[in-house]
Amino acid sequence: MIESNMMTLETPFYRRLSESQLQQLHFATLEVMERTGIRFHDEEAVALLKKGGAEVTDGNVVHVPSWRVEWALSISPKQIILYDMDGNPAIRLSGRKSYFGNGSDLPYILDHRTDERRLAVLQDIKDLIRLLDAIPQYDFVMSGFIPSDISPEKAEHHQTMAMLENTHKPMVYVTTNLPNTKDEVEMFEIAAGGADALRRHPYAACYINITHPLRHNPDSIQKLLFLSEKRLPFIYRPSIVTRGLTTPITVAGFLVTNNVAALSGLVLSQLKQEGAPYIRCSCPGGTFDMKTMVGLHSGPEVRGFNEELAHFYGTPCFGLGGSTASKVVDQQAAMDATLNLITSALAGGGLIHDIGYMASSTLGSLIQSAICGEMIAWIKEYWKGLKIDDETLALDVIHEVGTQGDFVETAHSFRHCRDDYYPELSDQKLFEEWINAGGTTMKDRAKAKVEKILAEHQPPKMEASVRKALQKMIEKK
């Protein structure tokens, strides 16, 4: 049988903005970049941008011309590949793909053993990374917690060591300043087998936060310049939770201001190094609760729009999902995380991070991380398209079974009964069976999974020579 004009939808189709709306936001952005400009608190940056055609006022306010923006967009990479530590391409950051990972630097942990909230320590980081290594739904890792038992000057080195020791999955790392960034890169180079090896098969991307979208702070700019020159991937984030504070409170104004910062960072990176692997931060959320003065990422507003901008430009995307404002692993935690994880995946959030984040980015829980893994499994199942062919239409089977028979006995059902999704943590038993099996809650079962993984899972072993070199390097600092 042949038929022309057959088209199929492989995966859910989702749009939140039309081409014309995106054009409007784009031109509004260009206008702000030329008219208002962006303040760069760094001499090298201002000089580069000036040489690149920008007018400079008030010493360091850069007015970027539109043609320079178009140039930067045309030469910056549209696909960035993150490898695992064994040199295999693991993440192809392009288009509307979604990859899933946790977040970094949470100060508190909800201890799964005691159900109590306490300051996190280095061991918590090691446990979390090992857990995420064992759960296939997580594609990349971040440091998870701030180790309160390590002095601040060494904290990042130990966080990185904990990541390197407990997984080979790609990682996103965060640093406070340029010297620490250089240290981290040195560590990654040691583990990769040299600077060239890391550059060829990068497994780590640096997540740079700037204090304000229209005035970029020195540390962040310097990290961008350093990593651009090294041609190592990084994310440049225009402002964490600030709609109404550092951007207009209305969503369109927020998007434009974010976009101004993102594009000016992109221009700078490409002027420093053509083709520098710039990942655009297109996080949803960014709301500031005007009652409690807490930054939020979990709500329904601003979801999908920022990601659409990334896709409009074709720039690789860093998103956010699976987080909650809840302080306990309860119904709010599940609801928040599920809703914003699905919407992030639909929007094509790229590197979707902060999965498992609680209490508005202050609290983590291995139990919540395990439950989020289950959500991702559900989502991936939902993403499967409909296969329509003779086998699946099963017209002959329908005819054979006819109006009197049963399908469960057929060879067809035998062949396909394992195609379906059977969740690992969600319980689907009948009531009495569930009681007999212990009457457990989702939290109970997730806890059991965490305990099992921590007791049994062996992450890929680090070579002794690498460990030695890394420890020597940390001690010297």
Binding site: H41, T211, H212, R215, G244
Partner: protein, 212 residues
């Protein structure tokens, strides 16, 4: 007479920035003393704002607008207030510590403290310890506010407090600290007197520390 005090309070609560100066002038034209206009008309209005912010009934931009309205009223009253009337509830020197450029929280606190009747000297961001010491010598505040958002700049708070001790000024001021990573435990550890978990709490704690 009582009516105009109520109108003034209401104007603050609703954030009537366009009408407040005229209303304040009207009160003065009626023969009311500037100090009474402040104490009986304006400060009660800001108290209500503070209360409503605490319960979540008022939102931050609304509080800020009320504070701006208060500021506008004060512009009319200031030339008429005597000596310590001008100081009002107290004098605050505030700034973000060295190495930190974050200022939104600090700006909020400054605005709300002004609304509560404080005279505020805002040193800005990235303020060295010595600059704080110099400001205390110059302005003789009863309160010093230190802000930091980065965990890496928190040690600068301790340094500032130590610098005040060295200069023999520590006993003359109450030090309050604030910023997302700041905790009560950190406050005790570095020898500060109080800390604000948010701008509203900062104002309350400040007043309590000064016995108001």
């Amino acid at each position: 007479m009582a009516d105009i005090y109520e109108d003034l309070s209401k104007s603050l609560i609703t954030g009537n920035l366009t009408g407040i100066k005229r209303l304040t002038q009207q009160a003065l034209d009626q023969g009311l003393k500037a100090k009474d206009v402040l104490d009986k008309g304006l400060l009660p209005g800001m108290d209500v704002v503070g209360q409503r912010f605490k319960t979540g009934e008022m939102f931050m931009p609304e509080v800020i607008y009320s504070a701006k309205t208060m500021h506008a009223a004060m512009e009319v009253l200031k030339p008429l207030l005597m000596g310590d009337d001008v100081e009002g509830t107290g004098v605050l020197v505030i700034g973000t510590v060295e190495g930190d450029l974050h200022d939104i929280g600090k700006n909020l606190v400054a605005m709300m403290m002004e609304g509560a009747g404080f005279t505020v000297i805002d040193l800005g961001t990235n303020v060295k310890s010595q600059t704080f010491v110099d400001a205390v010598k110059q302005h003789k505040p009863n309160l010093v506010g230190l802000s930091a958002l980065l965990t890496t700049t928190m040690p600068k708070m301790k340094e500032t407090i130590d610098s005040l001790k060295e200069a023999g000024l520590r006993d003359r001021v109450k030090v309050i600290i604030g910023g997302a990573p700041v905790t009560a435990e950190f406050m005790s550890r570095i020898g500060a007197d109080g800390y604000g978990i948010n701008a509203g709490a900062a104002v309350e704690n400040a007043k309590t520390l000064l016995g108001k």
